[in-house]
Symmetry: C2
Subunit: 137 residues, 2 copies
DNA sequence: TCTTGAACCTCTAGCCGCTAGAGGTTGTAG
DNA sequence: CTACAACCTCTAGCGGCTAGAGGTTCAAGA
């Protein structure tokens, strides 16, 4: 049995974050000491490690909640888990694509200023007007 | 003079968002009609267009506030504006790099399941444990 | 001129995923 | 037995909006 501080140390998840996960239903309500302090089992430690890693991979709290449920029920086919993961992969790819467009435009805008600005600032000028952009964003 | 709805139509920024920008100091307080409704000038229209485009490029409200001030003061050298833009470019690049790492891991994890899972789901298994990951994230 | 009704007003609360702080209680080591 | 770190709950804040309640104003048509 671990205190919340010990669980925090072992998983690298901050104490208030653990309480937040409990409050949002992602972590189960743990047992309590006589004085009402949380006491965690090894199972809770594993669950929190799963959550931490899934969060690090960018999955949402809701998705992780689904995955935790799916993991707990070995009878269910794992197609849903696969779907969540590949939907997330697609979302990540979409975000990358968007950011790359931004990167290209920003590179152009920042590059303009390397020549130095005479009079009006070319950075501010380019930021002001989308017509100078090469793509939508 | 435009009403807030007209300004919204002309810039593509939603009405509550315009009010939010005003409240956060990004848009100046406009004149008001006799009945207390907002009335915008062409200058306000241009300012909001600038804000919209800078937001579309991912700049924060705070950064845009700085840029708007810099733009309004043609005496100031534009080094600060360049600095904001290139710092933002760096931030975008950092985010891309992070997302690409995620993408690689997720691709691996999703790919595992293509073979089909016998017994334990390989997606859930991989999500649970960082040791199978090829990089930090 | 009067009447609709769309558009406007302010204010509050919610979204996500935490994080910070106040003010009080418990656990543990010396 | 005392001291103090660690715990407890509760509330509020971050960014960048978005939604809704409940009330007022504007402009077009009769
Ligand atoms: Zn410049
Ligand atoms: Zn553009
Ligand atoms: Zn599977
Ligand atoms: Zn990993």
């Amino acid at each position: 049995m671990f205190s919340i501080g010990e669980l925090s140390r072992r998983t690298g998840v901050k104490v208030p974050t653990i309480r937040y996960y409990e409050q949002s239903g992602l972590m189960e309500q743990p047992e309590r000491s006589a004085g009402n302090q949380r006491r965690y089992s090894v199972a809770a430690l594993e669950r929190l490690s799963f959550i931490r890693h899934a969060r690090a991979l960018g999955l949402s709290i809701d998705d992780i909640g689904e995955l935790v449920e799916l993991a707990a029920d070995p009878e269910r086919p794992c197609g849903e888990a696969h779907a969540i993961a590949s939907a997330h992969l697609s979302a990540v790819r979409a975000r990358i694509a968007k950011l790359r467009k931004l990167e290209r435009e920003l590179k152009r805008i920042v590059g303009l200023s390397d020549a130095g600005c005479l009079g009006e600032c070319s950075v501010i000028h380019s930021l002001a007007d989308h017509r100078y952009c090469a793509s939508e964003h």
